[in-house]
């Protein structure tokens, strides 16, 4: 599998793609002020290997990769390529040395074509200063054919599905002669099927000699594709792991203590159905039906999880329930009271607890104190306010209770919420929403960007709320989370309800449903194509 290093003098397009190099990070330390983001990290990426950097959010993986990609200068330590030390002053240097990076958020210009995006930054011109894209088109075609990418060089990027956009990013790196490809959390935005396709692409790239640094915290994927696993915790390498190790062992190593990956959850005891959605349609300002004729209901003491790839109407659905959407048609009944057309305040006062999908945008005010954030939707009610006069003492008192109860790690409730880590911010939002009697609890992406330890805690709280007899609706793009929490699973695709299936439904079937294939067909096809990884539950 290992290819000899072909000197650059004899470059041909084909040889470029099979050149290999050995990459070594030696004693990389990166400080930000008093913070040690990377602490003497040693990583060796052997040629033609998929090397996984496994670690929780904030462990320092991305910082390390930004050092490698020339975005940060390391405080200490050196980068060696083929045993020779190199210094990168910017991504340009890194690219020239054969390192390519696919960022978590794609860096593509949506209104440009694939070819234009790939050429961007390295455009060649014809006589007279005209852009020459023929060469780029040819290269895209070649790479696309080689790896079965199925990418049309002339398609507009904004028209492409997320999975294909990611391939464009990979092509960008490959066209620039990348021999080590860094993939930063590449599966975060993909459907399970797209994820499997990406894993296949990674294997193909490896077999043609490209090394891959795969950054992830999803154990299932890591186990499926890695050759070597380096576990990073709090900026330090805590050890290497073997892809054959159990997921529990990997998770414990990543978190630094024993974690239970499966949730202790008693079977649901559904009571009466107090929440009903009938023929709900939401029309976006551009006329698009973002939610299209959805009907479902949730019983007290039951968790309905809404699965779907991001952007298939989940956000609009929750916003419609909360009263944040303008054009909502149909009916939303909570305890036989119509919620459509009511103000957000009315809906909240009707007993709806809501955890928005993006805490930093919708859930918290970063410059407000934690205490103020904990009363963000009740600041005008007793005991926090009498008339229009607020009581800071009561607000702070409440904060102390909630901070203890939800184990928010902060020295004081008076600190700005924006200074908290993502997991603690999420705990603040959850603490606020769960600290009053609820008639309905909606949580959108309840554990996004939250470390494994906090996930465990937050999931327990959600189940506890269910067991108190509250109807619970969870919206998640993480299939693992959906499968873990749900008593029933509703799948959304392009604003339509593909179906509602029982909790035990297989990952492959759900994956196909998330791509819009109805349950019956999905079940049939799922059995035909179920792959070993596809059927496994992490």
């Amino acid at each position: 599998m290992l290819q000899p290093h072909i000197p650059s003098g004899t470059d041909t397009d084909a040889s470029r793609l099979v050149r290999v190099l050995k990459l070594e990070l030696r004693g990389i330390t990166k400080r930000f002020g008093t913070l040690l983001a990377n602490d003497h990290i040693d990583v060796v990426v052997e040629p033609g290997q998929i090397h996984c950097l496994l670690g929780e959010n904030g462990a320092g993986k991305s910082t390390l990769m930004n050092v490698l990609y020339g975005l940060y200068e390391p405080t200490e330590g050196e980068i060696l390529i083929d045993d020779k030390p190199v210094t990168f002053r910017g991504p340009g240097d890194a690219m020239a040395a054969g390192i390519g990076m696919v960022h978590q958020h794609f860096m593509l210009v949506p209104v440009f074509t694939v070819a234009e995006n790939v050429a961007l930054g390295a455009e060649t011109t014809k006589a007279g200063g005209f852009l020459n894209l023929d060469d780029t088109r040819r290269k895209i075609k070649e790479i696309s054919d080689r790896y079965g990418f199925d990418v049309d060089p002339d398609a507009l990027v904004e028209d492409l599905p997320v999975g294909v956009q990611q391939r464009v990013e990979i092509i960008k790196a490959l066209v620039r002669d990348a021999r080590v490809l860094i993939l930063d959390e590449p599966t975060a935005v993909l459907t399970p099927q797209e994820t499997d396709e990406l894993l296949d692409i990674m294997r193909q790239l490896k077999s043609s000699g490209t090394s891959i640094v795969f950054i992830s915290h999803k154990l299932r994927e890591v186990k499926a594709v890695s050759d070597t696993i380096t576990v990073i915790r709090r900026g330090k390498v805590v050890g290497s792991a073997d892809p054959g190790d159990s997921t529990t062992a990997l998770a414990s190593m990543m978190v630094g203590r024993a974690v239970s990956l499966t949730l202790d959850k008693s079977p649901a005891k559904p009571l009466e159905k107090t929440f009903q959605v009938k023929d709900l349609t939401v029309i976006a300002p551009n006329g698009q039906h973002t939610v299209d004729g959805i009907s479902f209901d949730i019983a007290r003491g039951e968790i309905l999880a809404v699965a779907g790839v991001q952007g298939n109407g989940q956000t609009e659905l929750t916003e419609a329930i909360l009263g944040l959407q303008e054009r909502v048609y149909g009916s939303i009944l909570l305890d036989n009271v119509e919620l459509v057309g009511r103000s957000v305040k009315d809906v909240l006062n009707a007993g709806v607890g809501f955890v928005p999908e993006d805490r930093s945008v919708d859930g918290l005010i970063g410059t407000f104190s934690i205490a103020e954030n904990l009363v963000l939707d009740r600041y005008d009610q007793p005991p926090f306010a009498k008339g229009i006069s607020m009581s800071p003492a009561k607000v702070l008192e409440n904060a102390k209770t909630r901070i203890d109860e939800f184990d928010v790690r902060t020295p004081s409730g008076l600190l700005a919420a924006g200074t908290l880590s993502g997991g603690n911010q999420q705990k603040v939002v959850m603490a606020r929403e769960l600290s009053r009697p609820l008639r309905l609890f909606i949580a959108s992406q309840p554990t996004r960007g939250v470390d494994v330890g906090s996930i465990e805690f937050l999931h327990k709280r959600i189940v506890a709320e269910r067991d108190q007899g509250t109807p619970v609706m969870i919206i998640s793009t993480e299939l693992d989370e959906v499968m873990e929490l749900a008593d029933r699973i509703a799948v959304l695709y392009k604003g339509k309800l593909v179906g509602i299936v029982p909790a035990g439904t297989g990952r492959d079937v759900l994956g196909l449903m998330m791509a819009g294939i109805p349950q019956e067909d999905a079940a049939a096809e799922g059995h035909a194509t179920a792959s070993p990884e596809g059927g496994e539950n992490a």
Partner: protein, 455 residues
């Protein structure tokens, strides 16, 4: 767009010195969670993809308005130094000594120093304390004058500051003062009511006038989404030309007068002078102090202020928490207008006692500077208002005593704004920028390059 979080974080690390030790510590916690700030937590993709960010394009303005008080102080200091140099540059003695600068440089430097200090001493004597005054009363006359001029600056500044805390850039204080002045003056000279009631009605009329003029902007913004900056600018023009029109109508023009000037307000309609008739200082100043206390309470201790601040800091989160953003917008603009309206009353019922088309002078615009200098905090605005009042009052004495033109004060004021708008410049000049964290900074710019397609 998808990358907007990165530069922000990188920026945070580029200037750690801005933070207090405690903040630094907690920032470190965040940084851990965001991989040293390089990458936002994975909560970000949703944000990035929907392209919505809290704060939005106004973030820079916001930063400037609510930055550290230290920068304000340094900006004033720096502006005074440069102002001093400008004064020296036009000084006769400095010009003479500069001709033999190399022969005897000390002469030149002494001349520069003298020119600047002489002017500033005069400025001080004209605004705070005049030791040459015949009596104690005369010695303190400049201070009284300063407080008188500061009164409308403070209340209008509070209006701008309050709106700003709610995320609105209210530059309509000028128009709000004018509308308030029109109503207050009319009540003052056209109605003849008993003592006490008359003044109360003048005050109410003025505040209502300003509040309506401001509230209308809020209403238009909330209902139609029109931008408040454009609206307030236009409303300033409407108010000014409306006033000029009125002053040429029989209802407002003083009988037998061809100039656009109103009748003098009834004695029952004007603010009493606080320290007797030898000073112009009137009740309006006490009301300005009261307004400052009220605004402080409103912002920090009331549900209304909580809503204002929430809407200003993160309107999306406020909306999600059930706060009625439209109502807040209308209400805050009305209150801001009411505060500016107090300035209008202070002018017509306190200082001028008539209505002319110069009723608002430039108070409405200076109020923006005052709020800016005061970092949009109530007491900061109060202090900034006093400072600008002192500049205005002292400038006259400065011109009389030293021949330094009054305009130099405007230059100093403008320089203050300039420096406040460019905190890094101020810090660089005072050597407060510790060695820049080069990698982080590089990360920022290079990352931008990367997003440009180089990646």
């Amino acid at each position: 767009m998808p990358d907007e979080h990165h530069p922000k974080h990188a920026d945070e690390h580029a200037k750690p010195h801005e933070q207090t030790p405690a903040a630094e510590e907690t920032a470190a916690v965040v940084a851990v969670d965001t991989a040293g700030g390089a990458i936002s937590p994975s909560a970000v993709p949703a944000t990035a993809q929907s392209g919505k960010l809290p704060g939005g394009p106004d973030t820079l303005v916001r930063k400037i308005f609510t930055g550290s008080g230290m920068v304000s102080v340094l900006a004033v200091l720096l502006a005074l130094v440069i102002g001093g140099l400008l004064i020296a540059a036009t000084d006769q003695r400095v010009a003479t000594t500069s001709s033999y600068l190399f022969a005897r440089p000390t002469d030149f430097l002494t001349a520069v120093w003298n020119a600047a200090t002489r002017s500033y001493v005069a400025l001080f004597q004209g605004s705070v304390f005049n030791p040459r005054g015949a009596s104690v009363a005369a010695q303190f006359a400049p201070l009284m004058e300063t407080l008188t001029i500061a009164t409308p600056l403070i209340t209008a500044g509070l209006g701008v500051a309050l709106a700003f805390r709610a995320g609105l850039f209210n530059i309509g204080a000028q128009g709000q003062i004018i509308m308030s002045g029109i109503l207050a003056a009319w009540v003052g000279f056209a109605l003849h009511l008993p003592l006490g009631l008359h003044l109360l009605l003048v005050l109410v009329a003025g505040i209502v006038g300003g509040a309506l003029w401001g509230g209308l902007v809020g209403l238009l913004k909330a209902r139609t989404g029109a931008h408040e900056v454009i609206l307030t600018i236009m409303f300033n023009y409407i108010a000014l030309y409306f006033l000029r029109y009125l002053l040429n109508t029989p209802a407002f023009q003083r009988p037998g007068e061809s100039n656009p000037i109103s009748p003098i307000l009834d004695p029952t309609a004007v603010y009493p002078q606080i320290f007797g008739t030898q000073y112009r200082l009137h009740l309006g100043f006490v009301l300005a102090i009261a307004a400052t206390v009220l605004v402080w309470w409103l912002l920090n201790r009331s549900t209304v202020g909580f809503e204002f601040r929430a809407v200003g800091a993160n309107p999306k989160a406020a909306l999600t928490a059930g706060i009625n953003v439209s109502r807040s917008t209308i209400l805050v603009m009305a209150i801001a207008g009411g505060l500016a309206g107090m300035s209008g009353v202070a002018q017509v019922a306190g200082t001028e006692k008539v209505l002319t088309d110069g009723v608002a002078a430039t108070y409405g615009f200076d109020a923006i500077t005052v709020a800016l200098l005061g970092r949009s905090s109530p007491w900061g605005t109060f202090a900034a208002g006093l400072l600008f009042g002192a500049f205005r009052a002292g400038a006259v004495q400065m011109q009389i005593q030293t021949g330094t033109p009054i305009d130099i004060v405007l230059v100093v004021q403008s320089l203050i704004v300039l420096f406040i708008a460019a905190p890094p410049l101020v810090r660089a000049i005072f050597g407060l920028n510790p060695r820049r964290k080069k990698p982080a900074k590089a990360g920022k710019s290079q990352h931008a390059a990367a997003t440009g397609g180089a990646a």
